[in-house]
Symmetry: D2
Subunit: 331 residues, 4 copies
C-alpha cells in the first residue's frame, strides 16, 4: 500500500530534529498555577519525547537539538543519555539562549501552560551545526515542524531535510504547530507546505492542516480527502490526519485510505499522545509491520501514554505495548 | 549626621522600582540541578523582596514593575497583594515578555541559579507606564539598578527618578548589578553614575562600586574612602558600601563615616541579605531612627533573612527584628 | 528541445519580482568617488531593469516591488509608469524603509559602488502584499534571487513562486547573488536551491552556481555539466550558465546543451548586461522563437546595453535589437 | 553676565560630537525630486558643518564622528581634513553601517529632503570609541543632540559629556532635534533634559524646547521665560532660544536676558543657519567677546550662510563675517 523504502546498513533508526527542554508539572493536581506549591521536573519537548518513545521500544534513536550551557541543559542531556538516546547531534549553546521550559498545571482540561521560549536554545540551532554525515547514518529523519518557525532553526531544519533526501533517509514531518512561535500564519503555511513537499510522510491534526492550507484554499471548508489529495504530491507518500477521539485517517499515494480508531482509556493529561503515536508508528514501520498495523501500534502507544501522569516516563516498552494491544483485542 | 528630608503627607512610605518574579528553589538541599526532583515556588526579585520586607515591618510599600499575563504573573501579584504591597504601579504585559524566573539549587556555596530573563517582563516597562503622580505619593523611591540595564526599562527608571526629584521624593539607588543584563561594563558604569548623581542614597557592595567607577578610574585600586568621596556629590548625601561578612561602611556628605558589623548567624542561603537590609534600613529611617541606628537595624534584618531558607517569607516583622536585636545585645 | 508551456489568455507577459531603486551615476567618468562633483539620477535594480527591457521591446511587463513613500520612491514609480510597466503590484512603504540606492563611479573597471540598502524598501515586502490573482495574470514570473536574501521579502518571493506554480505561470529564477544581502553563504545555498527546484528556468553565472552548490558539493571543482545535471530536476527544464566574455552555456532537461557566444562591442560600463539579456530572452521566447534563437537575442541585447552609458535607458527596442543582429550577421 | 570659564592650554578650541555625512543637492532649483536630473555633492551633518564653520573662522576644530568605509566616507574625511578639521576622533566603520546621506530638493520652501539614516554610521559610534584624553584637549565640547537618539551613539555622547565635565571642558548642547531618529518623544525629553542638566550652554529653538519639556509640563503653553528658568539649573549657565525670523532670546544664570534680532538677507535655502550661528558664537566667545557680542556675530554668520546656496562652503571666514557686520552697521 505504501512504498516507503528505508535504507539498510544505517547505525541509527531515527534521528529526531527539534526542541528538547524541561517540563515542570504542578505538584498538586487540579490546582491553579497561582496556588500550587511547586513543580516536579521532567524532560519534555515533542522531538525529545519521540526519541525517548523510540528508545524505550528498543529502536536506536538520535536527537538533533540544542540546550543552554547550565544545569537544566545538563539535566536534559543526562536524562536522554540514560535512556540511550544518541546525542552526537546535540549542541550546547553559550550565547545566552535558554533551554525550552514549560510550566504546567495538572488538570484534566483548561490546563494552563506557561512557556518560556524567548530566545529558546533549540531555535538557536543553525545550518552549520547540522552534520550531513550524521543524518546519512539514519533510516528516518523525523522533523518537528516547530523547528521551522524562526531563523536560524528554520534553515537548520530545511538543510537537515535536504541532507536526508540526498542520503536516501526517509523524511517524516510532524506538523506540531505552535502559533506563538511563528511570525504569522501566512509564514507557517508557506514553510509547512515547503517542508511537506519534501517529506515522505506528513502527520498532523485537522487544525494543523488548516494552517498549512491557508495560502492555498479559497474557501474555509475542511475536507480531509481534499487535504490528503493536496499533499500526496512531490515526495509525499503518506498523509496522516489525526482527529483526537475519532482516531486517525491515513491516506496513501496510491489513492487508498483507512481509519484507525482510538484505544479507550481514562485520560490523565491532555498531552503526550502525539509523541507516543509517532514513536511507536516509526518503530513498527521499521520492524516491517504494514502501515495499517503500524498506525494501530501508534494509537495503542498513545493510549498508554495519556493514561499515565508524565510524558517521557509514560512511554511504553515493546512488551507493555504488545501486552496492551493483546489485552484490548482479547476483551 | 545626614540631612535626608522625607516629605510629609504621603500615602505611601516607599515605592520600589524594578523586577518582580518567581523563584523556584530546589526541593532537595545540597543536590545538583540535574538531580533535584522538583522545585518549590516563591516570589522573588530584589525590589519585590524589599517591598515585602517593608510591608512585613509595617511600612506602606508600593511596587512599580511588570509581569506577564499568565498564571505566574498572577501568582506574583496575588502574593504581593496578600502582603498589602500596593500594586497600582504594576503593569501586566501581553506582548510576549515573560515574568522573571530564577531556578536555584539549595546549596551553602557554589549554588547554581538558572535565570530566565530573555525578554523579561520587568525590562519591558516603558516611560509611559510610569505615573508621575503615583511617585509623588511616596516618601522614598527605591530604584533597583538592574532596571537601568536595558531599554525601555532604563528610560522608565530614569524618568521615575526625575519625577521623584521633581516631587521631593527621596531617591535611593540599590546598585544590584547583574552583569548578564548589561550590554557592556562601560554602559553599566555610565548609567550607574548618572543614576547615582541623581540619588540621595547609594547602596552597593565593593564589586558594584568597582563597575560604577570603571569609566572614571585610572588605576584599579579599590579604596572605599575615594569611592565615597567620588559619589558624595550632586544630589548624593549617603553612600553605603557593603562588604559581606565585614559589615557595611557608611559615608555621609558632611565627611563623616562609620562601620556597622554583621550579626553572626548560621547562613542557610547566599541571598536575601541585601534586600532585607534595604527594607529595614528605610523602615527605620522613616521611623525617625538615626542613620547609624537604621543601618544596625538593616544589618539585623539581613542576618535574620539569611538564617532562614526562603527569601520573601524570611523577612522579619517589626517584633521579630526588635527581639533579635535585643537578644543579641543582651548576650 | 525545451518544453516550456506558456499559458495563453494572460493580460501580462512577464511579472518581475524584486527590487526597484535609484542609481546615481558619477557625473565625471574615470574619477574617484571622493572627487566627483555630483551624480546623474536613473532608475535601477535588476528586476526593474528587466521590466523596462521587456517594455521597451514591446512586451507587457509588470513589477512586484516596494519603494519608500518619498520623492525617490515617486520618481521610480513615475519613470516605470512612463515606460508602461504595470505597477499594480507596487507597494509604497511608510514604515521607515528606504528605496534601494546605488551610488556609482563611472569607470571601465574597479568601479566602486556604494550601496544604501539598510532597511531597504524592497526587502520589506511581505507575503500579504503579494496578490495571488495578479500573478495568475502573467505568462512568466521572473524572480530576482536577491529577494530571497532576508525576511519578509524572502517569504514574499517564495509565496509568489508557489502562486505561480499553482496558476501555471512559468517561473524563471535569475540568481542575482549579492553577498552583502545574505546572512551566510549556507543560507544562500539553501534558499537558492529551494527556489531553483521550483523554477522552470534558472539563469546565473559560474560564481552564482558555486554559491548555490556549496551545501551539496564535496569538492570545490567547478563543472558546468555537473551543475546543470544537478539542477535539471524537479521543475527545472532549462539551466543557463553565463560566463561573461565566453558567452552562455545552455542546458535542457532532455540532456542537450549549446553555447552562445557574445556580440563584441566596446564596453562602456560593467553592468546592465544580465538584465538586458534576461529581458530579451523572455521576450523572444514569448514571441515563439526557439530557445537557441532566444538566447542569441538575449546576448545581442546585452551587448547593446553595455555599449551605452546608462542602464534602463540603454535597453534596446525591438527595432534596434533586430537591426543590431542583422548588422552583425551581415558583417 | 555669564561666567563660562574656558580652560587654557588646550590644543583644540572646540570638539564637535555627532554626525558627518553627505548632502546631495538637486542640480536644478525649484524642481521636484522626481524631475531633477541629478545632484551636486557636499559634506553635511550639523556637527560637521559647525566644525567647518569654526575652522573657516580660524578656530582649531575637531570632530568625533563615524563614517562608513567606502568612497563617501573617504570623501567626508578628505573634505574635512582639507579644511583643517582635526579627525583624530573619527571612526571608520566596517560593520555595514552607512555614512549619513541627505538628498534634497533646492526650493525656497516645502523643500523635500530624503534622508538615508537606517543603520547610520554616526549612530554606530560607541563608548569605547570615545577617547577621554582627546576631549580633555579641547576648550569646548559641542554635542549635537541627535547623537543622543539611539544606542550606542547615545551612550558615547553621554560619556563624552562626562569626560568633558571631568576635564573642565565647557559643554555646549545644540538640541538639533530630528523626530525620525528617536523612539518616542518621551525618550527625547528624558535624554535631552539629562544632557542639558550636564551642559553649560543649551541652544535650541522653541519647538525643540517644547519636546525637551514634555515630561515636565502640565500645560501646553509655551513660555520662553519659564523654559529658561527650568533649564538654568545644575550645570547650565546660558540658554539660547532661537525663534527664526524673530531672532534669538538669550537667558543667563544671573537672571538676565536679551534678544538679538536677525540680519535681513535674501534666503536661498532653509538650512545651515543654525550651524553657522553655533560656529561663530563659539568662535567669538573663545576670542573673548561678550556673550551679547558673540550672539550678534553668530546671527550675522547665520545670515551669510542662508544667503548662499550651499552649506559648508557658505560658512564665512573671519574677514567676511566682520565685513558683513560692518556693512550692515554702516547702513
Amino acid at each position: 500500500m505504501t512504498s516507503l523504502a528505508y535504507p539498510a546498513n544505517r547505525s541509527l533508526d531515527v534521528i529526531c530534529f527539534g526542541r528538547a527542554g524541561v517540563d515542570l508539572y504542578a505538584r498538586e493536581d487540579n490546582v491553579d498555577m497561582t496556588d500550587v506549591s511547586g513543580f516536579d521536573k521532567f524532560v519534555g519537548g515533542s522531538p525529545a519525547n519521540i526519541a525517548v518513545a523510540l528508545s524505550k521500544l528498543g529502536a536506536k534513536a538520535g536527537l538533533i537539538s540544542c540546550v543552554s550551557d547550565d544545569g537544566l541543559g545538563r539535566y536534559v542531556c543526562d536524562y536522554l543519555r540514560s535512556l540511550k538516546v544518541d546525542l552526537k547531534g546535540m549542541t550546547i549553546d553559550k550565547s545566552g539562549s535558554r533551554t525550552s521550559l514549560a510550566i504546567t498545571e495538572m488538570k484534566a482540561s483548561d490546563c494552563e501552560v506557561v512557556i518560556y521560549r524567548n530566545n529558546a536554545a533549540d531555535l538557536a540551532l543553525s545550518i552549520k551545526q547540522v552534520d550531513k554525515a550524521y543524518i546519512a547514518q539514519a533510516k528516518i529523519l523525523l522533523v518537528s515542524g516547530t523547528a521551522l518557525s524562526t531563523s536560524p532553526s528554520r534553515e537548520a531544519a530545511l538543510a537537515a531535510i535536504r541532507y536526508a533526501r540526498d542520503a536516501g533517509t526517509v523524511v517524516i514531518l510532524d506538523v506540531d504547530y505552535r502559533a506563538y512561535s511563528w511570525h504569522s500564519p501566512e509564514e507557517s503555511s508557506l514553510y509547512y507546505q515547503l517542508a511537506a513537499s519534501l517529506s515522505d510522510v506528513v502527520i498532523g491534526n485537522r487544525e494543523e492542516f488548516d494552517v498549512m492550507e491557508m495560502l492555498d484554499k479559497q474557501s474555509t471548508e475542511k475536507n480531509d480527502d481534499e487535504t490528503a489529495f493536496r499533499y500526496l504530491n512531490d515526495a509525499t507518500q503518506v498523509v496522516i490526519i489525526k482527529a483526537g477521539e475519532l482516531g486517525s485517517k491515513v491516506y496513501t499515494r496510491d489513492g487508498k485510505n483507512f481509519t484507525q480508531g482510538i484505544f479507550p482509556v481514562e485520560v490523565k493529561k491532555p498531552f503526550g499522545a502525539g509523541d507516543s503515536f509517532a514513536g511507536a508508528l516509526m518503530y513498527a514501520l521499521l520492524q516491517g509491520h504494514s502501515l495499517q498495523e503500524s498506525v494501530k501500534m501508534g494509537s495503542a502507544a498513545a493510549a498508554i501514554n495519556v493514561s499515565k501522569k508524565n510524558c517521557t516516563e509514560a512511554m511504553p516498552t515493546r512488551e507493555e505495548l504488545m501486552d496492551f494491544i493483546a489485552t484490548y483485542e482479547a476483551a
